[in-house]
C-alpha cells in the first residue's frame, strides 16, 4: 500500500514518527557520550557512540536541568528516551528524558565533577584554610533546630563554662535546604557574634547529605569571615562542604570537641605559664638566700657591700611577698575548681553504666583529697613567708639587736679589744642610729659561753650616752 502511495516529505516523517512512537518510546540505549553542546536555551545536543555506530541525541532544557551530573565527552551512560525523526532535518535522533552514568551512580558522579571543578578553582587549597582561633568562645552553629546533631554538639559545648553559642537554624535535607544552609552561614558570618562556625548534620545516606555537596553551601563556607568547622554525617562521609571547610571534623560531636579542646589548651598554657612563673621566682629567691648565707660566713666581713645589696633585695622581696603569695594561692584555687568541675562531670558521662553512685562518692573523695593538698600547700607557703620575714635584717633589728661600727667605718664591730677610750661609735637600731663615745673598755667580755646572757648589759656598759641622739641605747 505504502509503496504505491506518493508521500509528501512532511507526511512521511510524520508517519514514521507515529510508527517510532508506538514501537520505540521509553527505551534505554547504552553508549559513550561524544560531541556535547548546550544551546543558549539550555537544550543539550550530543551523540552516543558504540564502535562505528553513532546515534544523535537531544535533551530538551526541561529534561536537561534535571540531570544531576554534567554530561562530558567519553562518559559511558544509559540514556532513556524516544526515537523520533527531526522534521526540519529529517534526522533520526533519540530524545533523552533521563540519563544515568554507568558504573558510578549519578550522585557520585555529580560529586566527583563538582569536586574536580571547585578543586581547579582552588577553593579547597590548603593555603585558604584558616586555623582555629586560640579562644574559640563564641560558637555559631548551622544545623537543624530539631536534629540530634544540635543536641550532641550542645552537650559537648556546655561542658565548658565559658562558651557562648549562637544557633542559626536551617533545614539540612530536601529541596531548598542548600539555600537555607548558605543563608544561615551568611547571617552568622555577618552577625559579628561568633569566632567560629560549625556546620553540622547527623548521619544519613548520600542522598540525605546531598545538601552539603551543593555549590551554594561550598561558596557560603568559602566566604564566611570566620573559620568554619564541618561536622557532617559519620566518619566515612566526605562532602564538598568537608573539603571546603577550614577544619573537617568526622562528626558534629567531634566538631564541638575540637572547640572545647582548643579552649582548654589555651587555658592550660596560661595556667602552666603562671605556675612556672611562681616556680622560677622561688628558684631565684632560693638562689638569693644561698648567696646571703654564703655572705654570712667567715669571709662575710670582706663582703659587706654585697651583703647589704642582698639584704636590700630581700627586703624588696619581703615587701612584695604577700601579693605574690596571694597570686600563687589563687592560682592553686583556680586549678582546684577546674579539677573539681572535671570530676563532677564524670558521673554524668558514665551514668549509663549504672555506677554513678560509686563514682559520686569517689568524686567527693577526690575533691576532698585535692582540697587537702591545696590547703597544705597554702599553709606551707604562709609559714615560709613568716620564716623569710624573720630572716630579714630589718626584723633582726626589730627584735632588739643592733649593729655598731666605728664612726666613719663600714665594718660591724665584733671585738672590744681594739677600741680606745674617746673613740666615736655609730649604732644602728631598728628605727634610727645613735652616735656614742667609748668611755671605758672592759676586757674579756666575749660574745660566747655563759656570758652571752649578759650581752645587753655588757653592751650597755660599753656605751656612754653620746648625747647626739635622743635614743636610749643603754637599755639594751
Amino acid at each position: 500500500m505504502m509503496r504505491d502511495q506518493v508521500w509528501t516529505v512532511g507526511a512521511l516523517i510524520d508517519e514514521v514518527n507515529v510508527l517510532l512512537d508506538s514501537g520505540f518510546s521509553g527505551l534505554t540505549v547504552e553508549g559513550e557520550v561524544t560531541g556535547v553542546s548546550r544551546s543558549a536555551r539550555g537544550h543539550l545536543y550530543f551523540s552516543l557512540k558504540e564502535g562505528e555506530a553513532q546515534l544523535d541525541c537531544v535533551a530538551w532544557a526541561s529534561a536537561a536541568k534535571r540531570f544531576r551530573f554534567d554530561l562530558e565527552d567519553g562518559l559511558a551512560v544509559l540514556a532513556t528516551g524516544s526515537l523520533t525523526v527531526y522534521r526540519a532535518r529529517g534526522r533520526f535522533q533519540l530524545v533523552v528524558t533521563r540519563i544515568e552514568p554507568q558504573g558510578l551512580g549519578a550522585l557520585q558522579l555529580a560529586f566527583e565533577q563538582m569536586k574536580r571543578r571547585l578543586e581547579a578553582e582552588g577553593i579547597f587549597a590548603v593555603e585558604r584554610k584558616r586555623p582555629l582561633p586560640s579562644v574559640p568562645q563564641r560558637v555559631g552553629i548551622v544545623t537543624s533546630a530539631s536534629g540530634a546533631a544540635l543536641r550532641d554538639m550542645l552537650k559537648v559545648l556546655r561542658r565548658h563554662a565559658n562558651i557562648e553559642i549562637v544557633v542559626a537554624p536551617a533545614t539540612v535535607q530536601g529541596r531548598g535546604s542548600a539555600e537555607e544552609v548558605a543563608a544561615a552561614l551568611a547571617r552568622l558570618g555577618a552577625s559579628n557574634l561568633v569566632d567560629v562556625v560549625i556546620v553540622g548534620r547527623g548521619g544519613g545516606s548520600l542522598e540525605d547529605l546531598w545538601t552539603f555537596n551543593e555549590e551554594s553551601v561550598a561558596r557560603a563556607i568559602a566566604v564566611c569571615p570566620v573559620p568554619v568547622i564541618a561536622g557532617i554525617g559519620h566518619e566515612v562521609d566526605f562532602t564538598i562542604a568537608d573539603f571546603t571547610a577550614d577544619i573537617r571534623a568526622a562528626t558534629p560531636t567531634q566538631a564541638a570537641e575540637i572547640i572545647v579542646t582548643q579552649l582548654e589548651e589555651s587555658e592550660g598554657r596560661v595556667e602552666d605559664a603562671r605556675a612556672r612563673l611562681g616556680w622560677e621566682l622561688r628558684r631565684h629567691l632560693q638562689g638569693a638566700r644561698a648567696r646571703l648565707i654564703a655572705a654570712g660566713g667567715s669571709a662575710g666581713l670582706a663582703r659587706v657591700p654585697h651583703r647589704v645589696e642582698v639584704a636590700r633585695l630581700r627586703l624588696a622581696v619581703a615587701d612584695r611577698l604577700p601579693e605574690l603569695l596571694e597570686e600563687l594561692v589563687r592560682s592553686a584555687g583556680h586549678r582546684l575548681l577546674r579539677a573539681e568541675a572535671a570530676l563532677r562531670r564524670l558521673p554524668g558521662l558514665i551514668a549509663a553504666g549504672g555506677n554513678s553512685r560509686l563514682i559520686g562518692s569517689r568524686t567527693e573523695q577526690l575533691v576532698t583529697l585535692i582540697r587537702g593538698h591545696v590547703d597544705q600547700a597554702r599553709t606551707a607557703v604562709v609559714s615560709r613567708e613568716r620564716a623569710l620575714q624573720h630572716l630579714s635584717p630589718r626584723r633582726v633589728l626589730d627584735r632588739g639587736y643592733s649593729i655598731t661600727t666605728l664612726e666613719g667605718g663600714t665594718q660591724p664591730l665584733k671585738d672590744a679589744g681594739r677600741l680606745r677610750g674617746g673613740e666615736a661609735l655609730v649604732t644602728t637600731l631598728s628605727d634610727g642610729t645613735v652616735r656614742s663615745l667609748v668611755v671605758k673598755r672592759r676586757d674579756g667580755a666575749g660574745p660566747s659561753g655563759r656570758r652571752q646572757s649578759q650581752g645587753p648589759t655588757k653592751q650597755g656598759s660599753l656605751f656612754d650616752d653620746g648625747g647626739s641622739y635622743d635614743e636610749k641605747c643603754g637599755s639594751r
Binding site: Q137, S266, A273
Partner: protein
Amino acid sequence: MTKNVEVVEADDRFEDQLERLEDIVGRLEDDTVGLEQALDLFEQGMSLAGKCRSRLERVEQRVSKLLEAGTTEEMDIETS
C-alpha cells in the same frame, strides 16, 4: 621597676599576650637573671597571665538563636 607592662594594649590578641607570657617564663628560667630583674619579670608575667585569664573568662555559657533580622533570642534546649 621597668614599665614594659604598660606597653600591653587591652585589645592585644590573646595569642600575642600568651606568647609574650611564655617568653617571659623562658627568660625567668635563665639563672643569670638577677633577683631584681626576676621580680620584674614575674610581675610582668603575672599581669599578662591575668589579662589572658580574663580574656578566657570573657563570656559565660549561653545558647541563643539567630533570627532572620540578625537579632538573637534565648534558646532553651535540653541536652541531658
